[in-house]
Symmetry: C5
Subunit: 342 residues, 5 copies
């Protein structure tokens, strides 16, 4: 297919309707309008105030295309909007800044991380967000918009972008906590009764770590690009805040690296524990065998049926044989003791 | 041999004819001409419109040389065209940009990646591609050229170059999917009945990973060089698209790195599984031996043929011996149980 | 919560009072005033002399907020002050430089490193430090201020900042010494009687190393940023000193890396020691079993009750059998000896 | 010794004579003169044409010194000429460029890489090469000079330098092929009957890899320095060619890295193969022991000589005992089968 | 303690006297004066010629302080002079360049590397060196000064600094040779009879490697800083020489890295050798046990005392039993042979 062809690559969910919700605000007023049709939205959204258009549901390519045309979004950006599982990235089309970011959530069912792609288009007076219907991560931002306190309503769409990115990065920390819990429970498992399931759990956790890492490393660059870029769409005041989110993303990265280190260390512990146990088991076997095999040999000798075996007829032959055998056994135990095998 | 000496280093295929096909187009017209002789091609290809010359088959050095002379290609570039297995690279000869890229395909027979080298020469009005006869990867591009929709026909040879590179990088994703399938099937094998074949499969997969990596890492630089370079042969509009392919190549790289990580982890799992099984086997052996070897020793004692063994003549000697032995065995089982060996 | 919302994330300690202590000095005078209320402090601290305000206890958000307003500290900085466990960082707000640093101390109880966050706000005539009530690390600095010798009183708040940072980094070396002791005692343990506890000790030490590393790596950048930054708040004379602390922080990093290397090597030693012991144990078992099992087989043969076994009736049958068995045993010992198994 | 003191550090070969051979050429003429004495050479070599002086044999320090003086070579450069085993390097002394490079060859006897140092001094009209008597790697270059085809004779000494460097780097590929063969034969060995010799072979191969790497990594920088440097001694036309050799050196580096990866992987395979075999061996032992040790215990019981053992006198005692034993054995085999041990 | 407080942190040696020796020279004259008191030295050392003051012994803080004051050395530099075990560093105080370097020597007693700190202060007409009394590494430099040949006397104190640094770096190569010897002897040990001592030797060697690395890595930067710095204290002519020492330090680094690689490889060999031996031992055990345990079971059967065992009364029962047992044993051997276990 030619580049710029719009195809939705995500899973098609049942509810077929794409919903558009618009927040139109300045420091004093806030208009919150849900839309059914794109055209209605396009015709009414050209205001000098800040406009945030949130598009939930990406399966209707026609809707996305019309929004793209209405707001002058580059076809390549639209393609990326629809290609879920895109790597986080930033693209500066002069008068539009386009961002792709992955929203992460912990799926309790599969004990793994689920990803939802969110795309942002920042223009002079508006911010458009595209997402699959899922997240309530943006709800606190909506609430703050409605309440109208703080900087939120006073500043432009770049600050809104920051606020949304901030809430996404904040949600990463929740996932880190979950992973931390899993690691800790694995560590206690390791000291108790580690088995093959422990290793598989470590392996699948490492998998999640890799996934997380792939999403957060480029995110740092994206946030850095937004802060350092020379676009006039991002105000100096907002850059300070962007730097703060970027610091948070670095903290996420460092925690992930720490977790990876810990997991590697845990595998080492598992292997050395196995080895140590094998050692212990082998020692027991060896001690038992080394003591009794020679003694059994002696009993075998006196169990032979030769006609002429003088010892058998001695008066104290049996007690002597017993004494000899126990003596040898005792000496062996003493040797093992001295070699620290007991 | 002196540098610039042209020698074909690939395998000589049976069909000896080098085929040239030319697309000559602008926004309104498209001429598609297959050529038999190089001279005919050279004499008729000097048009102000965009000319795409595709050379299929590299074994006829003379043909390559004449094309090189006709289009002012640097001898070193021609040498690279013929040296298959060249590292992906870009070379900017002022009024010609030369690129070498590897086309990858999955060979089901040997379960490995096969490479085909493709070279590009981009000039002011033309693009020449050299390839060994194999790929139908370019067919979609040809189809789009014939249909004449989109940007394709409107823009210059640099956009055509982009479109071809894009279709090559897209084909990498197909290979990644194949590798992903292999990795997943290996993972289920690991949890079931891993054997030496599993390890060899992991090893050969790592080999393919290394091959893939060696081709994609430099490709990223090549695409980056094309985008950032200051050549006038690449239009600003095309650069945006080149950045997009480059992002895709980075995605390929990251997936490959992820796969490598997973394969390393799988080896660890394999080793620890082996260790664990050995542990289990050794425990069984130890338990059996530890219980029965001492008991056998007791039977050995009463199997001795000493004349004077009072126990043998006791009325309850035999039942007492049996009871004693079973008692010892039971105690041992209990000890093993307490030490968590059962 | 919106960014800039002030929430204290640390543990709430029992003593509820936030204490403010102020040092106001120049080369000739020193005023040391403890404050109860923030307002009193704010109204009396606007002097042309150097003012160091130390805020001990962070749980009273209102106090922090009023200080922030009184001294023009950016809300994001205030948020970081309260978010303990923040990554060390530096932020340059033109006329204020904000720093977060972690103070480390060795907790003998849990045998691990405890962290306390310290934040600094450097202004034209003042330095504000925020810390949780714990450290007496700053006491030597206070003493030097009171004594008034050296550069301390002559130079501005930037030198005071340096002196405090220096005392923090110096305290890191104490921790390194503790870790060094632990590593050495583990090494002697390794050559003596390594067991699973050794591995767990190595693992938990690695954990501390990771924690230390996460705090010192960014600290280096922070100190470098302070030195290289072009803020007028830091005098040229102080920069020389800052470079010196930075060198110390690099030394800490290198020591940590060395420790990590050593710990990895210790794990290798542990594993190979286990393997070697297993080898030794197995050899003993094999030698015993290989010698006595065949001999026992021979005794078994002559213990059979067949009617017609001519050997049993031979005059020298028994001595011959004994001699044969000891002969075979001797030969085996000799073979083992030649194969270096004894 | 003071720096610049000339001492030959290589092995002294038997033939004591240092031989000088001179090629003096321009596009139309070629003079090939062998020299016996340095002075004769010095007096006759000041021509406006390109002069290539090849010095074979470095043990006569006096000769080297006189050449150095005659051609204005810096004492430090002369010192490096004589210090064989020098790291590849480039030094730009304004009107002289000095290069040290290692020529590598595969020594079939010791199955390892042998190195020969070659030094180059590039001046405005001349190129001096110093080498120990060994290589015929330069012969093809000499042949091309004599034949006078191509660019060779038309361009200056910088192109000659390029041609010589190119032939050296080309010879690296021969070594890579040898190493590749060794690796492949080791891989088949691994799947067949790996033993300790395999590991030692892998280890010694890694050693060669390290050696190769130490020589090729700096070579890349050297070639890059020659290309990017702003010396007027290197013409723009030659720089294109130098970039080509540099690409080749990168290809060598990447192949070496690939080999290292493969060798590491092979060690892993070896270890896991050993582990797997041990597992198989242990299983056999355990099955045999687990089946027969309990059965032997039963035979031991009925081999005891108690007077009162009723079973011994039963009519069907013997068959019943046999049947019981075979039954137990059969059940055990069935259990092993179900646990996938057979 | 405040920064700049002078405390000697090294070991206090018995000889309490700090000795000062002065070389005062230009191209024509050389004055060599040993001093007892600092004041005498200070008063007589202000000459326009080059003055090299060597301070041996650092335990007398007063002496160091007076020298520091006399020659305008920054207090931080003086502090570093006294803090032995300082990381190699360079500090440019405009009209003074301060360097710290570690002198290394091999201590045969403890089979480890001993370090001695040397500090340099380079001023316009003088060089001051501070060292603990130990090294005769500088003696060759003194000899060359006295002989007055070469550049030494003609050039300034920067060249003297170079000569001293060069002799220090040269001494590193001696240590590398020692380490090389140790590694080689360990390698032969590995192929012969590796034991736990081999592993400990490898570990302690790695330790030395880490120490060496920590001293040489920063040294490279120090030498690079000296060469690239824009201080007028270092002449252009000397910079060429400094580049040469820097190349040597890089060579040291690369050798150390190679050694580390080799040592890691040796550990792998050790582990796989252990594993292989265990395999061999286990095979012997398994073969013996697998052959004889079933046979012993047969003898056990015919050793039972049942009344009604028809086989016992057969004429050829005994030979048949023997033949059967040897037959089974033979078949087993043949099976083992086919499975490549013998």
């Amino acid at each position: 297919m030619p580049p710029g062809t719009l195809v939705y690559t995500g899973e098609r969910t049942r509810d077929d309707k794409v919903t558009l919700s618009v927040f139109d605000y300045d420091a004093n007023h806030l208009n919150e309008i849900p839309f059914d049709s794109v055209d209605a939205c396009l015709s009414r959204c050209e205001t000098p105030t800040v406009t945030w258009i949130n598009v939930e549901g990406l399966h209707d390519v026609g809707v996305i295309e019309r929004i793209g045309k209405g707001y002058g979004i580059h076809p390549l950006a639209l393609e990326d909007v629809l290609t879920t599982q895109e790597r986080p990235k930033i693209e500066d089309y002069d008068d539009r800044i386009f961002l792709v970011v992955q929203m992460l959530s912990w799926d309790d069912g599969s004990q793994s991380i689920a990803t939802e792609q969110v795309s942002f288009v920042l223009g002079p007076h508006f911010l458009i967000t595209f997402q699959e219907p899922a997240g309530d991560v943006f709800d606190p931002v909506r609430k703050r918009l409605r309440e109208g306190r703080g900087r939120m309503r006073r500043l432009g769409p770049d600050y809104l972008l920051y606020a949304l990115l901030d809430s996404i990065v904040d949600s990463y920390f929740t996932i880190l906590e979950r992973l931390d819990d899993r690691i800790e429970s694995l560590e206690t498992e390791l000291t108790d009764i580690p088995g093959p399931t422990t290793v598989h759990a470590i392996h699948s956790l490492r998998r999640e770590m890799i996934l997380l890492r792939r999403n957060v490393w480029p995110l740092r660059e994206v946030l850095g690009g937004l802060d350092r870029g020379d676009s006039t769409l991002v105000q100096a005041e907002t850059r300070l805040f962007l730097r703060d989110v970027r610091d948070h993303s670095i903290q996420v990265i460092e925690t992930v690296e720490t977790f990876r280190d810990l997991l590697t260390g845990m595998l080492d512990i598992y292997l050395s524990t196995l080895n140590y146990r094998m050692n212990a088991v082998m020692k027991v076997l060896t001690i038992i065998a080394t003591i009794f095999i020679p003694l059994s040999f002696v009993t075998g000798i006196y169990g032979m049926n030769f006609e002429h075996m003088p010892e058998l007829h001695w008066r104290w032959g049996y007690p002597a044989a017993l004494a000899g055998m126990f003596g040898v056994g005792g000496v062996m135990l003493w040797v093992f003791h001295r070699r620290d095998w007991l």
